[in-house]
Symmetry: C2
Subunit: 343 residues, 2 copies
């Protein structure tokens, strides 16, 4: 019980790596004391800048992450890394040896790396990721990089935890226009075309530019807000230019040779400046809080209901067997449980 | 209220396309009457064979799906398709024109195609997909193809709804061993190497073979079950061969030229026969029921709690704003709600 009290929160907030690592393990194990520590840490968060990196397996996200870490460290900024990508060497998912120089960072106290298991945690991936981001934020990390794979809904939820989302793509899938995904356009703040020394890099950049133009031409400007309308009525010229509009920059990188990575970091900073100058950072914060809260609520309720069901109806596997045999009605079970929980 | 009563269920079960399409729309809108119809349909399900197709964007899953549909139709089997892939032309996600001949199938009453929105439904993708599979199963579809993208947790949950999971890969990512994902090995029952006329196809096949060998050599045989032990004690020789072991076949395909697609369908049938001869089909059914039930429970509880919160604390966006400003504590909110719901 004494493992996670106020003093644990103090140690984590002071940047104690061992306390933070143990807290994260205990969070994985759903220890109640760990959740209490998280509550104690929450008011001390909100300072870190969270950057999401997403893209298909093999796009080189981990190499880019590696180079970005090095760049931030040269600037004297501390870095947290959360790898939600099962293919990432950060999360131990790479099959064969990888040239990523994680070992270097492992000896650097300014870098904290945490990989997430993507299996077996009943939908809890975005909640678990949000928890780790909270801990790293409370530890005082300046920048937190969240590496995810693909464009599934889960990845979109994880990306929703970021201030800036970098979508990493590569030449070579270029002849499949499908490879540039509709969903990705909606979440990308910055595009990185990695492995840009490969044939077809310029074509990939052109394809992306074309897609962005298509979107821009069809994007409708949002209606003027109260202030804009007021200024217009006061005689100021009405500008159809939307200061809030952000055109995602496209940056060519060759992570393995450290080319273009400084430009990529610059594009992230530009997006951050844009969010801050337009007041959109507060909106992002609300979006981040919303995503984290919904994930937390969903997990907590599911865990509680499954525990209750296990007591009343038997374990989940038994219930599933009865449902599979059409001896139990899943809809009736859920409605019955929801009705009882409601009252 | 009369929209979805017993007679709606009867019409859907009789294969009425318009009734089924309306039911699916109403399920999307969370109409209570639609859920009642789903309950009425549930006892009439369990006959369809569900095949999941997953793989990276640009792997050609949609072309393969198209060809598989045609093959099943030639055998006189009816087909349902659920496209959970935002890049799929089935779900309208393809950016430019696609040569997929969906139009042909659109005129075929034996084929029912439904695409799923992957955004905006608060974690409900696997539940929504399970609902659509239930409807198609009740309609009497012989085979249901579920097309998903990537290996995120959400996709893994969707894949858990399938009896047989086909993982589609392509040559060209071959120099990144990362591209063959750890998570994918765990869910694949059959591998398709599509676009096999491209350079590097043989290398991709070899890489997959190597990974499967690695897995086989490290796989530990499960301990003998009661029957096996009994037979051994009765003097029968103990066989270290596990009849339940399934080595995923690797099939080369060129979907655009309809090459290898019959072999792929044959590999799916072989897996089905394996499941049935070993008694593993019942386990899969339990696994499917479990995945669908958990998704249903999670969604239902979240929706109920958010509705209750909206009444008490304001809408989700207001709550998120207060959390973002650190004026509200998300952990306290969730625990308070869970405690009240528990009692």
């Amino acid at each position: 019980m004494a493992l996670h009290d106020g003093s644990t929160a103090d140690r984590v907030a002071a940047g104690d790596l061992r306390a933070a690592a143990r807290l994260m393990r205990d969070l994985d194990d759903q220890a109640p004391s760990a959740r209490a520590t998280l509550r104690a840490l929450f008011p001390r968060t909100g300072r870190a800048y969270v950057v999401g990196l997403t893209g298909a397996p093999g796009a080189g996200k981990s190499s880019l992450t590696d180079r970005l870490i090095a760049g931030y460290r040269r600037q004297g900024r501390t870095v947290g890394v959360v790898a939600v990508d099962p293919t990432s060497p950060f999360s131990g998912g790479a099959i064969l040896g990888d040239r990523i120089r994680m070992q270097d960072h492992a000896l650097d106290e300014g870098v904290f790396i945490r990989s997430m298991a993507t299996r077996g945690n009943l939908g809890g991936l975005s909640r678990a990721t949000a928890d780790v981001v909270t801990v790293m934020d409370a530890m005082g990390k300046d920048v937190i990089l969240v590496e995810t794979v693909g464009v599934g809904q889960d990845e979109i939820e994880v990306a929703a935890l970021a201030h800036t989302v970098v979508v990493v793509t590569v030449p070579g899938l270029g002849d499949d226009v499908q490879a540039i995904k509709a969903g990705v356009l909606e979440i990308a703040d910055v595009f990185a075309v990695n492995k840009a020394d490969r044939e077809g890099a310029d074509r990939t950049v052109r394809d992306l530019q074309m897609m962005l133009e298509l979107r821009r031409s069809t994007a409708t400007r949002p209606p003027p807000d109260h202030d804009e309308l007021h200024r217009f009525q006061a005689g100021e010229p009405w500008s159809p230019e939307d200061a809030r509009f952000w055109e995602p920059p496209i940056v060519k990188t060759v992570a393995t040779r450290d080319e273009g990575v400084a430009d990529l970091a610059g594009a992230v900073e530009a997006h951050r400046a844009h969010l801050e100058s337009t007041g959109m950072r507060a909106e992002r914060e609300t979006g981040r809080a919303r995503a984290a809260f919904v994930a937390l609520l969903r997990d907590r309720l599911l865990a509680g209901a499954l525990a209750r069901l296990a007591g009343e109806q038997g374990h989940l596997d038994e219930i599933a067997s009865r449902i599979a045999a059409r001896q139990a009605d899943p809809y009736a079970l859920v409605e019955e449980l929801a009705a009882r929980l409601r009252g």
